[in-house]
C-alpha cells in the first residue's frame, strides 16, 4: 500500500466501518473511511464532538477492531492479527499521547518511560533518560508526576510514546490541558518529532492552533471524512468548527462563527473581548 506520494504509509485505513450494536439500535460511528499517515507528516483529525474521532483513534491504535475494512500499522494487518497479539502491536508499533497525560502516579518520569519498553530493549533506564533529556527534562528524571507541570507531564508522555521507537504516534487532544505557551511549545515538539525522527503523527484535536504544524488536516463528521470543508475558529471557545450551518453574527464588518448558540450569546455580551480572536 502506498500513500499519495509513493511512500509506504505507516497507518493505512481502507474502507473502515465501525458499527456499535445491532438491528434498530445499531449506530455507525465510522462509515467506509479511508485514511493514511506517512512518515514525517503530522495529520490533524478535526471535527465536532460525536463525529467518531475517538472511535477512529481507538481503531488506528489497535484497541478496537472495525466492523469491516482494513487497517495496517507499520505493515501489520490489524484485522488479521489475533486479539492476543494486539497489546504487543500497540506496545511495539504505536506511541500514545493522551489528553490527560495518563502517567502512572507512583512512578517517576524515568520509570514511566522505562515501563513500556519492551523486554527486547531491556527496559533500559538509559534510553529512558536519553528520551527525557531530548524532551528537555534532564532535571526531572526522578520527579513524580504530581511534581511536574502540565507541559512537563505531556513531554514525559511523549518520551513514553517514543520508548519503543514506534513509527506511529497517536495523540488525543494533546494540548487540551496545556496553557497557550505550553501548548505551542508542545505542538512544535510534535512537529519536530515527525520531521526529524520520521514518525507519522496523527492528532485528534479541537485546538485550531495545531493547524500551524499540520501537514494535512482532515475533517471527520458523522463518521466520514469530508473534503473542502470551510472552517473557522469559534472566538469564544477557540474550537475549530465547520462554517456551514454554524451560528454566526457579523461584527465590525467581519463574520464570526460559533460552535453553539451559547458561545454566540457570550460573544454578543462582550464582542470587544472576543472579536480579535476569531473569524
Amino acid at each position: 500500500m502506498s500513500g499519495g506520494n509513493g511512500v509506504t504509509p505507516v497507518l493505512d485505513m481502507i474502507a473502515v466501518t465501525k458499527t456499535y450494536g445491532q438491528g434498530d439500535s445499531a449506530v455507525t460511528a465510522l462509515s467506509e473511511i479511508d485514511f493514511h499517515a506517512d512518515p514525517g507528516e503530522v495529520v490533524l483529525v478535526m471535527g465536532p464532538s460525536g463525529a467518531g474521532k475517538t472511535t477512529f483513534l481507538t481503531i488506528a491504535g489497535a484497541l478496537l477492531k472495525p466492523t469491516s475494512g482494513s487497517v495496517t500499522v507499520s505493515g501489520i494487518n490489524l484485522i488479521e492479527a489475533r486479539d492476543s497479539d494486539l497489546p504487543d502491536i500497540r506496545r511495539e508499533k504505536i506511541g500514545f499521547v493522551f489528553q490527560s497525560f495518563n502517567l502512572l502516579e507512583a512512578l517517576n518520569a524515568t520509570e514511566n518511560v522505562t515501563l513500556v519498553m519492551s523486554a527486547s530493549r531491556g527496559g533500559s533506564p538509559h534510553r529512558a533518560r536519553e528520551l527525557l533529556n531530548m524532551m528537555g527534562l534532564s532535571h526531572r528524571l526522578k520527579s513524580l508526576p504530581k511534581n511536574l507541570s502540565g507541559g512537563e507531564k505531556q513531554r514525559v508522555a511523549i518520551a513514553r510514546a517514543l520508548a519503543n521507537n514506534p513509527d506511529l504516534i497517536l495523540a488525543d487532544e494533546p494540548t487540551a490541558n496545556l496553557d497557550a505557551a505550553r501548548g505551542r511549545e508542545f505542538m512544535l515538539l510534535l512537529k519536530q518529532i515527525a520531521v526529524e525522527m520520521q514518525k507519522a503523527v496523527v492528532i485528534v484535536t479541537h485546538d485550531h492552533r495545531m493547524r500551524e504544524i499540520a501537514s494535512r488536516i482532515v475533517w471527520l463528521e458523522d463518521g466520514t471524512f469530508r473534503v473542502d470543508v470551510a472552517t473557522a475558529k469559534d472566538p469564544v471557545c477557540n474550537r475549530v468548527i465547520e462554517i456551514e450551518g454554524a451560528p454566526n453574527v457579523e461584527y465590525a464588518s467581519l463574520r464570526f462563527y460559533f460552535c453553539s448558540d451559547s458561545c454566540k450569546d457570550l460573544f454578543a455580551k462582550e464582542p470587544v473581548r472576543y472579536a480579535g480572536r476569531g473569524g
Binding site: 495518563n102 507512583a106 512512578l107 488525543d172
Partner: protein, 380 residues
C-alpha cells in the same frame, strides 16, 4: 518483582500498613493459637508419655490419667509377679487434690494458710521408682516421709520454693524437690511416697493404677490384653494410648473452639487484606486501563495485583510470626498456663494459609481488571 507493583504498594504507606496489619494480626492469632495448642498438647500428655511405665493398668471404666476414679485392689495383682514378660511393676496412686501454701508454718490457724492450689497427688514406689518425677531439677530426687516433690510450673505459679510447707489431704508437707515434666496446664503433679499417699488418701492396699515395665523385646501393644486377663475388672493401656486419651480429655473440648477461632482469624486477615487490595485496584482502575492501552496484557495486570497481595502477605507473615514469638514468651512468663510451643511445621502451614489468603485477596480485584476497557484511557 514488577516495578509498578512495588511502587504502587509502597507509595501508599497507610493502605499498606492497614493491609499488612490485617494479615499480621491474622497470622499472629493463627500461629499463637497453634503454638498454644502445641504447648498444651506437649504438656498434657508429656508426663504419661515420658514416665517409665510401658503399660498403665486401671480399673474398668478408666479412660485417662487425669480424670481417673480408678481403684485397683492390690490383693488381685500378685499374679503379675509370675509373668515373665513383666520386668517390674508397682502401684501408683493419683488423685486430684487441692493444696494450700502455708505462709506461717509455725501456726495452725486458718489465717496461716495462703493461696489454694490445684494439683495432682502422685504417690509412687520410691524403691522401684515407677511413675515418679520425669526429671528433678532442684532438691531431693525422691520424697521421704512427709515430703513432696512439686512440679516447677506449680512452684512458679504459686511461688513455692524448696523447704516451703504446703498443706494437702489434711497433712502438711515439706517441699523437698522440684521437678519438671509434670505440668498438665490445668494442674500440676506433686509426688509423694506411695506409703504417704496411701495413708493420706486412705487407700490402704489400693492403687489408682498399676505401672508395668516390660522385659526387653516385649511389644506393649501385644501385651495389654494379657495384662487385662491377669487382673480382674482391669483395663490396660500402652503409654501411647494413655497419653493420647489424656490429651483428648483436655484438648478434645478445646479443639473445636480453637478451629473456629482459627477460621475467624483467617477470615479477618482475608477480609482486611482483600478489601484494601480491592479498593486500591478500583482506585487505580484508570491507571490499569492506561497500562492496557499502552500495550500490556491482562496477564501482566494479574501479576501486578497478585504480587502486591503476595508481598503484603509476606510482610504480614513476618510481622505476625515475630509477634507470636515475642508475645508468646512474654505471656508465658506472666501466665504459667500460657504454654506455647512453636513448631516449624506449623509456621509452614501458617505460611501456606497466608499465601492462600493473599491469592484469595487478589482474586476478586483481578476479575475486575479483566473487565477494564483500555479505551477508558482516552477519556479526559
Amino acid at each position: 518483582m514488577l516495578l509498578v507493583a512495588r511502587k504502587n504498594l509502597f507509595s501508599e504507606r497507610t493502605r499498606l500498613a492497614i493491609s499488612v496489619g490485617g494479615v499480621a494480626l491474622s497470622v499472629f492469632l493463627i500461629s499463637l493459637l497453634l503454638s498454644l495448642y502445641r504447648g498444651w498438647d506437649e504438656k498434657v500428655g508429656g508426663y504419661v508419655e515420658q514416665a517409665n511405665v510401658d503399660i498403665w493398668v486401671g480399673s474398668t471404666g478408666t479412660r485417662d490419667f487425669l480424670s481417673a476414679a480408678s481403684i485397683v485392689p492390690l490383693d488381685q495383682t500378685a499374679t503379675l509377679n509370675n509373668i515373665p514378660e513383666i520386668k517390674v511393676w508397682a502401684p501408683i496412686i493419683v488423685r486430684p487434690v487441692q493444696g494450700i501454701k502455708v505462709k506461717f508454718p509455725e501456726r495452725t490457724d486458718k489465717d496461716a494458710e495462703g493461696e489454694k492450689m490445684d494439683m495432682h497427688f502422685v504417690g509412687y514406689d520410691t524403691e522401684k521408682n515407677i511413675g515418679g518425677p520425669i526429671k528433678v531439677i532442684e532438691g531431693k530426687d525422691k520424697p521421704g516421709p512427709g515430703e513432696v516433690i512439686i512440679d516447677k510450673a506449680l512452684a512458679k505459679r504459686y511461688d513455692v520454693h524448696l523447704n516451703d510447707i504446703i498443706s494437702a489431704g489434711g497433712t502438711r508437707w515439706t517441699v523437698a524437690g522440684i521437678s519438671e515434666g509434670g505440668d498438665f496446664v490445668v494442674s500440676q503433679t506433686v509426688f509423694v511416697s506411695l506409703t504417704d499417699a496411701q495413708a493420706t488418701l486412705r487407700m490402704p492396699n489400693q492403687a489408682t493404677f498399676i505401672g508395668i515395665q516390660l522385659a526387653d523385646g516385649v511389644n506393649p501393644d501385644e501385651f495389654t490384653a494379657e495384662t487385662e486377663k491377669q487382673i480382674p475388672q482391669a483395663v490396660a493401656f500402652t503409654r501411647v494410648e494413655f497419653a493420647a486419651a489424656t490429651r483428648d480429655i483436655i484438648l478434645g473440648n478445646i479443639l473445636p473452639i480453637l478451629l473456629v477461632v482459627l477460621v475467624l482469624a483467617f477470615i479477618v486477615g482475608l477480609a482486611v487484606s482483600g478489601l484494601t487490595i480491592y479498593t486500591a485496584t478500583i482506585e487505580k482502575g484508570r491507571e490499569y486501563g492506561i497500562i492496557k492501552a499502552v500495550g500490556f496484557k491482562n496477564s501482566y495486570l494479574y501479576r501486578l495485583v497478585f504480587e502486591q497481595a503476595i508481598v503484603t502477605g509476606a510482610i504480614g507473615f513476618i510481622i505476625g510470626v515475630g509477634l507470636t514469638l515475642s508475645f508468646g514468651s512474654f505471656a508465658s512468663s506472666q501466665v504459667p498456663q500460657f504454654v506455647t510451643l512453636v513448631h516449624w511445621q506449623d509456621l509452614l502451614a501458617v505460611l501456606g494459609a497466608t499465601i492462600v489468603m493473599s491469592l484469595l485477596a487478589g482474586y476478586v480485584p483481578v476479575r475486575r481488571l479483566a473487565a477494564i476497557d483500555p479505551v477508558e484511557a482516552f477519556k479526559a
